[in-house]
């Protein structure tokens, strides 16, 4: 009984605290981008056992946006979904290695969602950060081509990238990873071998 009351009070206080949390500025979202794991090792499992390993390493160079772009979607009182986007170019030493082939990893594109100010359910993650580690595009223009569909042609710009989602910025764990290699897409799983 006492335990239940305590839990209810704690939840109440945490909700109130959340309701009064000031919405952060763009610098906060840039700090999330900066926390993306600079190294990753993934495995693409194959039924015949000939699994394929994919690794990446990057070092940030220069942001394309001076600060992340932030916008709010208001669904009602106290129900706001905050969206943010960021784009940073990588240093030339950054790479994505697929099947022994080392490709230049050129930039990161982040498309994120801050759910802390929305009325999501208990299972809704506070953050949903979609990360594209893009290879071969030194202009970092994507995922949709500028001017599409008016300019015709392909909708998407990037032929090769590692994409994953992060739902918890404390650990920045890559989840639901997908490798796109020369337009072909395949699911990959993070392998944490330690250092």
């Amino acid at each position: 009984m006492t335990k239940g009351l305590f839990l209810s009070l704690a939840l109440c206080f945490s909700s109130l605290a959340m309701a009064h949390t000031a919405m952060p500025g763009p610098a906060f979202y840039r700090s999330l981008t900066n926390k993306i794991r600079p190294d990753g090792h993934f495995r693409i499992y194959m039924p015949d056992g000939r699994h394929q390993d994919v690794t990446y390493h990057f070092k940030f160079a220069k942001p394309i946006y001076p600060e992340p772009i932030v916008t709010d979607q208001n669904w009602g009182v106290g129900d706001t979904i905050r969206l943010f986007w960021d784009r940073i170019v990588f240093d030339d030493e950054s790479y994505l290695e697929v099947g022994g082939e080392r490709l230049p990893l050129t930039c990161v594109f982040v498309s994120g969602q801050d759910n802390r100010f929305s009325k999501g359910g208990m299972l809704t993650p506070e953050f949903l950060i979609r990360i594209y580690l893009v290879a071969n595009d030194f202009a970092c223009e994507g995922p949709i081509r500028k001017g599409w569909p008016q300019i015709g042609g392909k909708k998407e710009a990037w032929d090769t990238y590692m994409h994953y989602e992060v739902r918890d910025p404390t650990i920045m764990l890559p989840q639901d990873a997908v490798l796109r290699y020369r337009w072909n897409e395949i699911n990959a799983v993070l392998i944490d071998k330690g250092n």
């Binding site: 080392r102 490709l103 230049p104 030194f138 202009a139 223009e141 300019i151 392909k154 020369r182």
Partner: protein
């Protein structure tokens, strides 16, 4: 029916493209081709020919036993394309998927620079005057080009060492002298068009463009003897009026042309290990972008 086929082919070629986008495109974009279809189709054929050669060289690395025979065969294929050029821009990744994949920064920078080439021609072909309006418009497009710091090739003059001062330099022209002269003839044609389009009257311009097309055919009529280039043609020499009006653009074009030769050398030279091709591609493209790399204090005089 024929128009419909061209339209379908045109749309199909657009669907493959995922390079940098100049958006919004200038109002004059691709108008040069409406006025001068023969010259425009040749430019499309050059793109095709360049990409085809790069792809073949990449796939044939270390396997060419008879360079003269290889050159003869590929020259005949490219000449067939030049004689029957495409009506639309053919995207490089359709013709040369492995080359495009090996040289991502170079291809990005070429794409961006080729758009500048094209749009300058489009403005020159359509501007109502040869004075203020035209000049302002070309400079506006050049500013847009330069604003893309991630892809723009520098407009600062470089010494010839940029092209010829690497451990792999001159491999292409030594191995395939006729093909090298064909490529230099492409460059000559592109820059001579700028000069032709600066003639004061439309009639003179039309005549000059036609003469440039005819001269190009004469240049490549009997390679290697027909094209007497000792060195890669430069913009200030071949297009002096253009160079005086737009002094910053010629170095940007010349640096682009030098980078083309560098790519050919990387692909041909046995001194470049297969595993180093991608790295050398990025390294040399960065040099093309860097105003301080191989910087020359003296630019070619118009």
């Amino acid at each position: 029916m024929r128009v419909l086929i061209y339209l379908i082919v045109g749309l199909a070629s657009l669907t493959s493209w995922a390079g940098p986008v100049w958006y919004p495109m200038p109002a004059e974009a691709y108008q040069f081709g409406r006025k001068y279809p023969d010259a425009q189709r040749l430019l499309y054929a050059f793109d095709y020919g360049h990409a085809l050669v790069y792809e073949r060289l990449l796939h044939s690395r270390g396997k060419i036993n008879d360079a003269a025979e290889f050159e003869k065969k590929i020259l005949s294929e490219v000449l067939a394309i030049l004689k029957n050029p495409p009506n639309v821009k053919v995207e490089e990744d359709e013709i040369a998927p492995d080359y495009v994949y090996k040289f991502p920064l170079t291809v990005n920078a070429f794409d961006w620079s080729h758009m500048l080439h094209q749009f300058v021609l489009d403005v020159l072909a359509t501007a109502p005057d040869r004075g203020k309006v035209m000049k302002a418009r070309v400079n506006e497009i050049f500013s847009q080009y330069k604003a893309n710091h991630l892809l723009a090739i520098t407009d600062v003059c470089k010494t010839m060492l940029f092209m010829d001062g690497h451990y792999f330099s001159k491999a292409f022209r030594r191995t395939f002298p006729s093909f090298n002269l064909l490529i230099w003839s492409y460059h000559w044609f592109q820059i001579r068009l700028y000069e032709a389009l600066l003639k004061p009257t439309e009639m003179e311009r039309n005549f000059a463009v036609k003469k440039t097309v005819d001269d190009f055919w004469a240049l490549i009529s009997n390679l290697p003897d027909s094209a007497e280039f000792d060195m890669m043609p430069d913009t200030a020499t071949e297009a002096p009026t253009f160079a005086k009006l737009f002094p910053r653009i010629p170095p940007a074009f010349d640096n682009n042309h030098m980078l083309h030769d560098i790519v050919s050398d990387i692909l041909v030279s046995s001194r470049v290990a297969d595993s180093d091709i991608r790295k050398e591609g990025v390294r040399t493209a960065r040099m093309a972008q860097d105003p301080d790399a191989f910087r020359s204090n003296i630019c070619p005089e118009p």
